[in-house]
Amino acid sequence: MNPRRSFAAGTGLFILLGFAALAYLATQTTSLANTRGGDAYTVKARFTNVGQLKERAPVKIAGVRIGSVQSITLEPQRLDALVVLSINKHFNQIPEDSSAAVFTSGLLGDQYIAIRPGGSPNMLRNGDEMILTQSAVQLEDLIGKFLVNGSPDKKSK
């Protein structure tokens, strides 16, 4: 191998290594690592309050991730939040009367959508809407109620 060929090969190796590192960073250390499995179907759900829910937040059943939040928009007529969930095709056995709730992982963690399965024999299909939803619990509201009401037995008299 003459010197010219060897430095060209070394440069090629360097470029390959750089791109391999980029591919590693992009696929293994980011949210892309959670979106394997390709095909997905979308389900809509309305919430009166989504709290701190963000796009790409996980959707879970029994704590297992099955998809992610695709978009969060305000519906102009009803003035509630329309959340589009993208669920992996693999999990297509979700009863249509299942309920969706905005939960928080841990006390101060990120928010996610938890789906609790219902008992209907009919399954959710692409574009369906989930009727039963439970909005995010606002910590501030809880504290506010507690402060206003004080201790419950004083109020009941």
């Binding site: 060209a8 360097f14 750089g18 791109f19 590192a21 980029l22 960073l25 980011t30 949210s31």
Partner: protein, 257 residues
């Protein structure tokens, strides 16, 4: 009296350097089509500024990741949040430390050698000799080094970040005993491809690569043709590059996030 009269000169000199470097950039860019004829030279420079810098970049990346994990573990253990060590290591590296430290190392390792090499070519009249042989020194000497720097920086930065994650994993998981699955799942849950990898790693390192090599090539090209002049030009490359990197980093962070 003497000090007072020198001060504006010092300031005006600095300003003139910045302006001159800014005017040098279009010259460099305009020479890109002509420098494609010397494509082999660009590859050779890519080997020299990129591949030869790999060792220092990889070792430094490993240690930066290790020390980050070590420090964060002790701080986060106060809040009982040691499982987020991987997340913070990844975000800190991708958004700030990776591009900035890589660029500073790159300025020290590659920028200085570019300045010294071109400066010596100037001092020994090789650039004039090229002009006499109808070889455009901008297209043959300056632009290939500039292009090589712009291409090499993002690649080096990716390698640096990957090594930092590896170092963080080594200390966090292997040494301090954070659970392996939690380490990765927390990291993947809060790092995003576009806002962290593309905006942080790629855009920043492209800009830093362009700035560092522009300063290095310009300093070498305009150096006074004496050995003292080359020495000053090399020093100025490191100083100006470091300031430019850190200032530009603040501006880019403010705009990108």
């Amino acid at each position: 009296m003497n000090a007072r009269s020198r001060r504006p000169n010092w300031f005006m000199d600095g300003l003139a350097q910045v302006g001159d470097a800014g005017l040098f950039l279009p010259t460099l860019l305009a020479a890109i089509p002509r420098s494609l004829r010397h494509f082999r030279e660009t590859v050779r420079q890519l080997w020299f500024v990129g591949a030869m810098s790999l060792t220092i970049i990889m070792v430094c990346g490993l240690f930066v990741g290790m020390v980050l994990a070590l420090q964060l573990y002790y701080v986060l253990s106060i809040f009982g949040a040691t499982t987020t060590t991987g997340t913070v290591v990844a975000l800190a590296t991708f958004r700030e430390l990776g591009p900035v430290v890589t660029a500073l190392l790159f300025a020290g390792r590659a920028g200085t050698s570019i300045t010294a090499e071109i400066g010596l070519m100037r001092a020994t009249d090789q650039l004039s000799a090229m002009e006499m042989m109808a070889v455009d020194p901008i297209a043959y000497v300056a632009t290939p080094r500039f292009l090589a720097g712009v291409v090499a920086m993002p690649l080096l930065c990716c390698v640096f970040c990957a090594m930092a994650i590896f170092g963080g994993h080594l200390v966090g998981v292997t040494w301090l005993g954070i659970d392996n699955g939690t380490f990765w799942s927390n990291m993947t849950a809060s790092v995003h491809v576009w806002s962290d990898i593309i905006d942080g790693v790629i855009y920043k390192s492209l800009a830093f690569g362009a700035v560092v090599t522009l300063i290095a090539v310009h300093q070498g090209y305009t150096t006074p043709p004496t050995s003292e002049g080359v020495a000053y030009a090399t020093t100025r490359t490191v100083v100006a590059s470091s300031i430019a990197i850190l200032a530009l980093d603040f501006v880019m962070t403010a705009f990108l996030t």
